[in-house]
């Protein structure tokens, strides 16, 4: 196998630095899942539509299936595994989803949670319309979205309670 084109990248994921030699064509989603074992980021379509693979790149929500791993060199990535502070300490958004039954099979959930993190930072008290607009970038095939909307509303409240 010809590995002469490989590039060495250094990327911080969930606060931990990784240095890896990767093929330039390696997708960020595959890098996260299969090179460094963070399988919480899911891949549903590999063409940027479903949103399941959403992660944060320098605190901005991006589709990890539409980026190459080499594009993250020197940058910071956050995935769903970095959201909670431990098994018993869920992030308020995760709590919202748990309480409101905002997930069924849970496959789309990590991408939705990661889309919501910057959204709720910028819109701490969103309307239902704003929530639905944001969610329309993520496909969920199980829930019909209703309980996800409720989960986001609850999550937003929990974040505010925590910070007040």
């Amino acid at each position: 196998m010809d590995r002469t084109l490989d590039r060495t990248i250094t990327v911080k994921v969930n606060g931990r630095e990784y240095e890896r030699s990767v093929e330039p064509r390696l997708l960020l989603s595959d890098f996260l899942r299969h090179e460094i074992g963070l399988t919480g980021t899911h891949v549903g379509c590999e063409h940027g539509v479903c949103g399941a693979c959403t992660v944060l790149l320098d605190n901005e929500a991006v589709r990890s299936c539409l980026l190459f791993a080499v594009q993250t060199n020197g940058r910071e990535v956050a995935t769903v595994e970095g959201l909670d502070a431990g098994p018993q300490q869920l992030h308020p958004i995760q709590h919202g989803f748990w309480e409101a039954h905002g997930l069924q099979c849970g496959f789309c959930t990590p991408g939705i949670l990661m889309s919501l993190v910057p959204f709720l930072e910028q819109n701490p008290d969103p309307t239902e319309k704003e929530i639905r607009d944001l969610l329309s970038g993520n496909i969920c095939r199980c829930t019909g979205y209703q309980k996800i909307v409720e989960a986001v509303q609850l999550g937003a409240r929990l974040i505010q309670e925590k910070s007040s």
Partner: protein, 783 residues
């Protein structure tokens, strides 16, 4: 019992793992030395294979193996027929099932022709480009009627025709009904294909361990036990040598109950050949071709009625698109045939279908599994009849409801479970009344609609009914064990794909044993942990496995009481199970913990008395004599944008009767999710095949799955008519949300465009198609 667990909206046990990215899905399985498979698939729907040249692919660095049909030797066999035809007289059935890799001929676009195994998925996919297949294109069989015409191209030349099956079922005398009728309405109805589009594509990991002589398979299947048994048999292994694990699964909806997909058998076989762990993960484009689909039917239907709207009979002759292979037998068209009758008294019924082989992907059940079609035809016929007879749409339905004192109610034909179609229970009028109340039916018709129409808006209302045969046999089992920690472990054979089984089953068990739901740990879908079972399909998990849970937990409860009675020197009837302890009623000081009892039940010294089993454990099975009949009503108000023909669903109501409710939170989620899929089916999702059988919209950019902006909030309520067929009184609920939505859209659009006499006779629709129908209708009106 102090706190009730059963029937409560308890949050789910499984969620923390899913929410933190720590749940295991099939593609998360990583093993040292793992190889990766990719499949070369035909672009042509119908072609002879002249030659396949794999030399270039084989030589590519990193490629471990390339296989075509010719390399499989004796292992190349058509898959098993999963469901034999039901015992219906004079039934015609031609068995043709899928093959591991195409040999001689490809029969649908996306059929696998070769498999490459390489060190990475990237390399395996690279190598596909080095395989050269010479095809001789053949005319494709696409249209159902054309498929049956003289001189049509043949999917199977040896068959001499494209008929997969013909089935006629009847009750009463249609001819007489027709002759006595005041009104007979005849129409043609179309219901086209869609995809289940679970967010997780399919995937398989297979690993052969030479030292233990065991094959372990992680599979996105809804039926792990059947997969284990089938693969063991195909590979010449003992069932004990094969472990199939259906881990967390990212949505099933039916296509994952299809068994022995080519990839499933090939991965297992190649893992044995190569001695290395092997993974294949389907991509989204493959999912549109290689995962099964549903829905293509054409119905020529008639209804005979008296002038007061009483139904005398229904005649329905339909074509069903089986696709290129029919491994799932007749389940889908039989469901259409049986569900059509709905909650109505239909004294005579003549139903005749022809299942047709086409050069399109395989059809197997997808949420609703043919029931949609039946509901669509019946509800449309009633709508048209009401119009002709100048009756209210609701009134004509009410007049024909099966009265609540008529159950069990026999429809005199055979259902998909091979049992007679007998509704176990039902009470339709209260659900209808509640739905009318929640949607504001009378108020909308009397004042809101006229007012808004006057203001130039186009708004419509609809109310439809349906029944759903759920919870069919043959059986499921469960094992319940109290562990020394006092926590309870539970295992069952059904797989789970998001239905909340880790919680609803735990509730059933917790109710009996008096522990917290969070202390009941459910395992589903691991054949090493539970040996027997059928699978998750036909809205049966809660009904069949749920009742097995109940039986096993009740037996463990009896064991607990017996042993505790001895230890506490009290009569069993004086004991209660409460918060993980057994105590003398009202005397918490005289108690023993379940954990301590579990230790005592498994002593290290002394003797277990004759007739006693060690441990606080029981395994029980439940098999219903026939399915439980759920029912419901959907109602909707929608607004049509006069410029774009986009729809806004202003209000959506579901009143549902699935018997006793285990967890209302989970039930609401199932209903809402089903409605969303129904809306997709009705107005967004259609698979467009061209005349050559090429699928023109095989991506999520072009195949439009509803988003959060398209799906409304659902107002739901429940009527509870417990099923007499199982101790818990439950009926299935998994498919109810999706079934009547097409019929609902058609009625609402007819209502919104009643000024021009619109008559929607097809699903799926789209803004474009609606525009065409409205334009055609208006032009006809103007003539």
């Amino acid at each position: 019992m102090s706190t009730r667990q059963f029937g409560q909206p308890i949050k789910r046990n499984e969620d923390p793992r899913l929410l933190t990215g720590r749940a295991l899905f099939t593609d998360d399985v990583q093993m040292a030395g793992m190889l990766h498979a990719a499949f070369l698939r035909s672009d042509l729907a119908h072609a002879r294979i002249r030659s396949i040249d794999v030399q270039g692919a084989s030589r590519r660095p990193g490629v471990a193996a390339v296989y075509t049909a010719g390399d499989l030797g004796e292992f190349w066999q058509p898959g098993p027929l999963l469901v034999p035809p039901p015992p219906v007289e004079q039934l015609e059935f031609h068995q043709r099932t899928q093959v591991p890799l195409a040999r001689g001929k490809v029969r649908h676009a996306g059929e696998a022709v070769a498999m490459v195994v390489a060190e990475s998925r990237y390399l395996a996919e690279d190598a596909l480009d080095d395989i050269f297949v010479e095809y001789e294109p053949l005319d494709a069989v696409i249209d159902l009627e054309a498929a049956l015409s003289e001189g049509a191209p043949l999917v199977y030349e040896d068959l001499g025709h494209n008929v997969s099956a013909r089935v006629t079922q009847t009750k009463g005398d249609w001819t007489q009904a027709e002759s006595e009728a005041d009104l007979v309405i005849r129409r043609r109805f179309l219901y086209d294909r869609g995809a289940a589009a679970a967010l997780e594509n399919r995937g398989i990991v297979a690993s052969w361990d030479e030292k233990s002589q065991r094959l372990t398979i992680w599979d996105t299947t809804q039926a792990p036990i059947a997969i284990r048994n089938g693969l063991a048999s195909m590979l010449g292994l003992s069932e004990r040598q094969v472990r199939v694990i259906a881990p967390f699964i990212g949505g099933g909806f039916g296509p994952k109950i299809m068994m022995f997909y080519p990839e499933e058998v090939l991965l297992a076989w190649a893992a044995l050949q190569l001695g290395s762990p092997l993974k294949w993960i389907e991509d989204r484009e493959e999912n549109f071709f290689a995962t099964t689909q549903e829905r293509g039917q054409v119905h020529d239907a008639a209804i005979a009625l008296k002038a007061d709207g009483t139904i005398l009979g229904v005649k329905d002759i339909f074509l069903h698109d089986a696709g290129a292979y029919a491994p799932y037998g007749l389940t889908v068209p039989i469901n259409s045939q049986c569900t059509l009758l709905g909650p109505y008294v239909v004294p005579s019924y003549h139903s005749e279908f022809t299942s047709v082989f086409t050069n399109k992907p395989i059809v197997t059940p997808y949420r609703g599994a043919g029931r949609q079609h039946g509901v669509f035809v019946m509800e449309r016929l009633l709508d048209l009849a009401a119009k002709e007879l100048d009756l209210d749409l609701v009134e004509i339905r009410r007049r024909n409801f099966i009265p609540p004192d008529s159950f069990p109610y026999s429809n005199e034909i055979i259902f998909q479970d091979f049992a007679p179609l007998v509704y176990d229970s039902g009470n339709y009028e209260p659900a209808l009344e509640r739905a009318l109340e929640l949607i504001g039916y009378r108020e909308f018709i009397a004042t809101e609609q006229p007012r808004r129409e006057k203001a130039g808006e186009r708004v419509g209302i609809a109310v439809v009914n349906y029944i759903e045969g759920t919870g069919i046999g043959p059986y499921e089992g469960a094992r319940v064990t109290v562990e020394a920690s006092g926590e309870v472990s539970v295992a069952t054979g059904v797989g789970t794909q998001g239905q909340g089984h880790y919680t609803s089953f735990a509730q059933v068990v917790a109710e009996q044993i008096g522990v917290a739901v969070s202390d009941v740990h459910v395992v589903t879908g691991d054949t090493d942990l539970f040996y027997w079972g059928a699978g998750t399909f036909a809205s049966r998990g809660a009904v069949v496995a749920g009742n097995a849970m109940h039986a096993a937990a009740a037996k463990v409860r009896a064991k607990i009481l017996k042993l505790a009675g001895k230890k506490l020197e009290a009569a069993e009837e004086d004991l209660e199970l409460i918060e993980g302890r057994v105590q003398v009623k009202g005397v918490p000081q005289t108690s023993i913990s379940l954990g301590q009892l579990a230790v005592e039940a498994n002593p290290m010294r002394g003797a277990v008395q004759p007739g006693m089993e060690p441990g606080l454990e029981a395994t029980e099975y439940f098999g219903p004599e026939r399915g439980a009949t759920a029912s419901g009503v959907h109602a909707m108000i929608l607004k049509v944008d006069p410029e774009t023909f986009l729809l806004e669903i202003e209000k959506y109501v579901v009143v549902h009767d699935c018997g006793t409710v285990i967890n209302p939170l989970i039930l609401d989620g199932q209903i809402q999710g089903g409605v969303a899929q129904g809306i997709g089916n009705a107005f967004y999702e259609q698979l467009h095949f061209d005349d050559n059988g090429a699928l023109l919209n095989a991506s999520l950019m072009d195949y439009l799955v509803p988003t959060a902006s398209d799906v409304p909030n659902v107002v739901s309520d429940h009527v509870v008519t417990p099923s007499p067929l199982n101790p818990l009184g439950v009926k299935g609920a998994g498919e109810a949300g999706a079934i009547p939505v097409g019929a609902l859209f058609a009625q609402a659009l007819d209502n919104a465009f009643r000024d021009i006499g619109l008559e929607v006779r097809e699903i799926p629709l789209s803004p474009n198609r609606l525009f065409e129908l409205v334009t055609e209708t208006a032009a006809r009106e103007a003539v």
